[in-house]
Each structure stands twice: as C-alpha cells, then as structure tokens.
Symmetry: C2
Subunit: 434 residues, 2 copies
C-alpha cells in the first residue's frame, strides 16, 4: 500500500474512458515500470453517470468532491470547455491537489496565471499538445540541456488529414473536408481546426516550454488551410515540396544570443521540401520537429488525438506527479516564466510560394518580376504553363528568395494592380527546416 496514489477524475468522455480503460488493463504494467500503484477513488461529471466501469470509484455530479476529498491525491481534469475546467483546476491547485489536464485552450489562455499563483503544486498538461506524443517531456527533460533554434509542428490532425487527401487524390478542400467529417476527423463546424485556432493553442504551449517563457496565445499569427487549392498542391509537388499546416516557434534571426530573445510564433500552411521527414507525416498523424544546438534535428511523431492516445499522455503525467508525491520533499524551484517579445508577422522572413493567375499576354511575367524586384525580392524558381487555348488564364508560379512578410505584401499589392491580373493571388510561406 505504500505506493498507492489516488486519482480523482473530472469528466467521463472519451479521454476519461480511455484513462479508465488503460488502468483496468495495464495497471500491473504501470506498477512494474514506475513503482506507482494508481487507484481511481473518485469520478465526477456534471452529466449523468454513463455505463462505464469506474473501477470501484465513487461517482458524483459535483466537481468539488474531487478537490474537497481527502481520498484524492491528484485531480485529472478531462471535462473540456474553458470556464468550468479552469475553475476546477484553480480550485484544485488552491486545495494543494496536483492537477493533470488535457485542456489546451485553458493552458494556452490561462496558463500564466495558473502556473504563477501555484508554484508548489504541480500542473501538468502533456496531453494538451500532440496527443500521445510525449513532446512536452522531450522539451523539458529529454532535450533539457539544449537551446532551441526552432520548433515546427504538424499539430492539427484535421488539417493534416485534409491536406494529405488533397495531395493524394487531387480533391478540392471542400471535398476533403466532407470526407474528414464523415470519418469523424473534423467537427460539423470545422472552423476551430481548419482555421488554425486549435494549432495556435498548442503552439502557445510548445513555445512557452521551449523558450522558457509565458504563454502567448494572443500574439500568435494564425492562418488556416481553407484557401489552399488543388493547383497549389500540384505546383508545390512540381517544385519538390509538400504543403502542410504547421505551427512554428523560432528564435528570430535578428535576436541576440539570449534564450529569452525575440521569438517568431505563427500558425499557417507552408511548403516543406518533400525529402524532409516532416513532409512525410500524413493523414491524421501529428509530428514535431525540433532543431537544437546540441541534439540537432529531432522529430517526434504519433497520433495527435483519440481517447486512448490522449489518455496515454494523461497517465504519463499522472505517473510523473505520483512518483514525486511518493518521493516527498520539495523539488527544485524554477524561475518565474518571463514574458517574451513575439515578432510581428510583417517582420518575419522566409521564402514564399506565389501563384499569380493572369491573362496570357506578353510582358506579364516581366511586370510581375519588376514588382518583386521593386521590393528587393529575388526569384529562385518559376513555372509558367503554356496556355492550352486562346484567352486561357495562366498561373505564374514563383518561389521567391527570403523576404519579409511586409515586402511580400507590398509587392503583391503592386502585382494585384496589373491590368493582366485574372484572379486572387495565392501565397504560402516556404520552410526549408535547415
């Protein structure tokens, strides 16, 4: 009995059921591996009790039973949503109960306050980023000795599924989205996923841990994938690239050598070189590529969602916290998280892919090239298809050299004024991952 640690679980949805299911089947494995004898003593959910084996735990519809009870050592918050979850986490920490949560929105939006006001009680959230992949542990422990150059993650499975389907079968965004919805990979209202908000929540967390800083959700630049066309995917392939939706945190090229320098934080589609491992992470899988000063390029891939996969990450945190509880004593205290300056997107520098639909008239490529040149943007590669009929619209496709977003915006403003323009310009940033 000396190694017993008692859990109070909030929620009874798919992740909570996954936790109960794992504990039912793998309790002995966890004990053998970690020395921790996990018991679920309480489950609380404001919805009525479902037909789930609670492993002998007491059920209540009152969440406060979790943090007001002496028979709970760790509160596991799996109710989702924001307000109630945040209140539960806050009350549990205040009651000196360590908390494990899978709630990325709460951590991204309220993590600064929650962590700052409860420094001596653990709050862990491995499951909030990239599901089963133990990426936060990798950043905080496995790569603890490293300064991070960049963290680039495919961190939304819905976007990755849609882009993979578009790439592999040439379908349009709407068609791929419908397929994702039918398979349960996208919500009825997909905005949260396809417009990048979910990815930004996760990036805010990755950024805070990788750069030892506060959570900066409000400062993250966010773009989704709804404007990606099949033509862009085909042109990208011709150029040797793959289109993925990623979150990027990066020490800015202009920043000084301090780790708390200036950081880029942005979520948007990118062209990745097709030979890069990250470009080959397909379907609903997630992956995070980290470039560090000592460890070089490391990549972590796996399922980013699902009850069992998320529960795996939740229990990893639970075991860590439980081991510390059993060990007793006060761990070393870390410094408060300092704020960091996020580079405005206008100043972010990268190569760009541009697709410019024009009427097929002499001089149009020269005019586009002149507009780019006016803003000191070089052309690294270009594709101009021969029109198959008279009066056809022709796509001018260009890979630019490295330029700021502001310069690209200004140049495209000029291009848009050209009389030969025949549609909306597509522009996607390019990440070489070097």
């Amino acid at each position: 009995m000396a190694n017993v640690v008692r859990l109070g679980i909030a929620g009874l949805g798919t992740v909570a059921q996954g936790v109960l299911n794992i504990l039912q089947h793998n309790h002995a494995i966890i004990l053998a591996r970690s020395g921790v004898d996990l018991r679920v003593t309480r489950v609380a959910s404001r919805a009525a009790k479902r037909d789930v084996d609670l492993l002998g735990a007491t059920f209540s519809t009152q969440l406060d039973t979790l943090y007001n009870s002496d028979d709970v050592d760790i509160v596991v918050e799996l109710i989702g949503g924001e307000t109630t979850a945040r209140d539960l986490i806050e009350a549990s920490l205040a009651a000196n109960k360590p908390v494990v949560t899978a709630n990325k929105a709460v951590v991204a939006n309220f993590g600064n306050q929650l962590l700052a006001s409860n420094q001596h009680v653990a709050l862990k959230f491995e499951a909030a980023v990239a599901g089963a992949i133990p990426i936060l542990q990798a950043i905080q422990q496995g790569l603890v000795a490293n300064r991070f150059e960049h963290v680039v993650g495919i961190i939304n499975g819905t976007c990755n599924y849609i882009l993979t389907a578009m790439q592999q079968s040439g379908t349009a965004f709407d068609v791929a989205l419908s397929a994702a919805q039918e398979l349960g990979y996208a919500e009825a209202d997909p905005t949260f996923d396809v417009e990048g908000i979910d990815a930004a929540h996760k990036l805010a967390i990755l950024l805070a841990l990788a750069y030892d800083t506060q959570f900066n959700f409000d400062d993250i630049y966010i773009e989704g994938i709804s404007k990606i066309s099949p033509a862009d995917i085909i042109y990208a392939q011709e150029l040797g690239y793959c289109i993925k939706h990623v979150g990027i945190a990066r020490r800015s090229a202009g920043s000084d050598d301090d780790n708390d320098g200036v950081i880029e934080a942005r979520v948007h589609p990118v062209l990745l070189p097709e030979h890069q491992l990250l470009a080959n992470v397909n379907d609903v899988a997630n992956a995070i590529l980290i470039k560090s000063d000592a460890a070089g390029h490391t990549l972590f891939s796996g399922p980013g969602a699902g009850g069992a996969a998320t529960a795996s990450a939740v229990l990893s945190d639970v075991v860590n916290v439980a081991q510390d509880l059993l060990r007793g004593g006060e761990g070393p205290t870390t410094q408060n998280r300092a704020p960091v300056t996020i580079v405005p997107i206008a100043q972010v520098r990268s190569p760009h892919y541009l697709r410019i639909p024009t009427q097929d008239q002499p001089g149009v490529f020269a005019a586009v090239a002149q507009a780019l040149s006016n803003h000191e943007i070089s052309i690294e590669a270009a594709i101009q298809k021969q029109p198959s009929s008279v009066d056809e619209i022709v796509d001018i496709v260009i890979l630019t050299g490295i330029a700021t977003d502001a310069a690209i915006q200004a140049a495209l403003g000029e291009v848009q004024q050209l009389p030969q323009m025949a549609g909306e310009i597509a522009r996607i940033r390019v990440e070489t991952l070097e």
Copy 2:
C-alpha cells in the same frame, strides 16, 4: 546554492567535451528550465589532460577520485570500453553515487547485475541508445501506461548511412563503406557496426526497458548488412520497399497476454514499405518506431551519435537524477527485472524477400515455387526479368507470405539443390510495421 548538484566526469573524449561545452554555454538555460544548478567539480581521465576548459574542475588521472570524493554528487561515466568502465560504475554505485553513462556495451552486457545489486542508487543510460533521441525516457515515462506491441529501430547510423548511399547512388556495399569511413561515419574496422553488434547492444537495452525484463544481449539474433547487394536494393524499390538495418523487439504472436510473455529480439536488414515514415529516415539518422496499445504508432528520430548529441542525452539523465537528489526522499521502488524467454530465430514468422539467381531455363520458376509450396510458403509477388542475352543469369525475385525462418531455411535448402541454380540466394525479412 540550494540547487547545486556537483558532477564528477570520467573521460575526456568527444562526449565528455560535449558535456563540458554544453554546460559552459547552456548552464543558465538548464537552471531556468529544471531548477538545477550543475557544477563540474572533478574530471578524471587516465590519459593526460587535454587542452579543454574544465570549467574550474579538478583534474586527476585517478578514476577513484570521482567516487571517493565528498564534492561529487553524480558520477558521469564517459570513458568507453568495458572493464574499466564497468568497474568504475560498480564502485561508484557501491559508494552511493548515482551514475550516468553512455556506455551501451556495459549496460547491455552487465546491466542485470549492476541494476540488481544497487536498487537504491540511480543508474541512467539514455545516451546509450540512439544518441540525442530521448527514447528511454519515452518508453519509461512518456509511454509508461502502454503495453508495447513492437519496437523497431534504426539504431546504427553507420548502417543507415551505407544503405542510404547504396539506395540513392546505386553503389556497392564496399564503395559506400569506404565513403562512410572517409567521412568518419565508420571505423577503420567496421565490423562492430556493419555486422550488427552495436545495434544489438542497443536493442538489448530497448528490449529490457520496453518489456520490463532483464538485458538479453546473448540471446539476440544478429545479422549485418555486408551481404546486401545493389540488385536487392533495386528489386526492393520495384516492389515498393526500402532496405533498412533495424533492431526489432516484439511480443511474439504466439505469446499469451502477459507482458512478460515470449519476446522476439533480432537485429538484421529488413524490407520496409516505402510509404512508412521509418523507411524515410536516411543517412546517419536514427529512429525508433513503437507500436503501443494506447498510444498507437509513435516514432522518435534524430542523430544517433556525435559528441554534442550524445552529451545532450547524458545531461538529460544528469538533470533527472539531480532533481531527484534535490527533492530527497526515496522514490517508489520497482520490481526486480524478471527474465524473459527470447523466441529462437527459427520460430520467428515474417514475410521474406528472396532473390534466387538461376540459369534462364524453362521450368525453373515452377521448381522454385514447388520448393516453397513444399513448406507451405505462399508467393505474394514475384519479379522475373527477361534475360538480355542467351545464357544470362536471371534473378527470380519473390515476396513470400508469412512463414517461419525454419520453413524458409528448409525451402531454400531445396531450392539450392536445383540444377539451374547460378549463385547464392539472398533472403531478407520483410516488416510491414502494422
């Protein structure tokens, strides 16, 4: 000063220099992230002191100064070799000093005794497997709640570099090996790497941690890559596969549901489906793919060697041990590692790739098919090239269904007796990774 933990480093080679270099540059990062203030108080190496900044540490040619001194909290063993390193680890643990080592040979060969006789003093060896990749932490912490179906790793960078070169430029093994030697990716005597011994050391460690069992180096089946021909690589590509050298640990299909059931443990070349992420891990990179019951397929990739990358993993262990030291108290004790039964290779079941060089005579394919059929081996796919001239030798290439190694051996024994045989048969196991 409350958070100071003092290191005694044994060795002054590239990894030790990497550790000193990281501590020189990233000391503040490590402190901010972990709360641990690491100081190197002693360095000992039996070779004379090199021109390296020891960060104020006392140098000695006597290794016993590390574990006999009161000013060392953790001994970091980086001298390599087996006997001296093992003695140092043993003496340090006996002196109640936790040890961090990068020495895979010592852990694979002597881990059972070292861990069994020192259960209350930490012995950590993250750097012993796959360099910078925090794979042991992933198994023990990030995926702690999972039962592992299989662990398949590209865990020898030399082999991966050679096979990648053979695939990308069509060179023969000898040529690719020479190139690897020129680049410093292979030793002058490459046997240890290209014949799979190094990979087997690492697999023994992965297996012990993933299956909560003892180290089983002596029972691991080992095959290297020196017999892989450019023809095999080309045929594999035609069939949609990539040839990689891997270590595999797997719960045997025949084993019962207990985690300590019967395990496969083998190191050899395999054909991997080319769309699998693991098949796209190239050059000197390492990667480990884990299939778990809850977390599904997770993959961890990064540099498998190099002073800085290995030092990154060493310091990750150091920080973990240091945090426990600062916390004080006794952690939960885990069970003793139980022995496990390793399946004899003859009983291991998998599909096979076969390349059978024959004279181009009527009936030869039928005779080969008959020999396979005699041992209930099905043919899933076959390639038979038309000869470009009379009397040419023709390769019959076959992908078999799943069969035991014993059945394949017996069938190939019959094939070898056919009068039309014109050379040595190549056979490589196929891993679908499903």
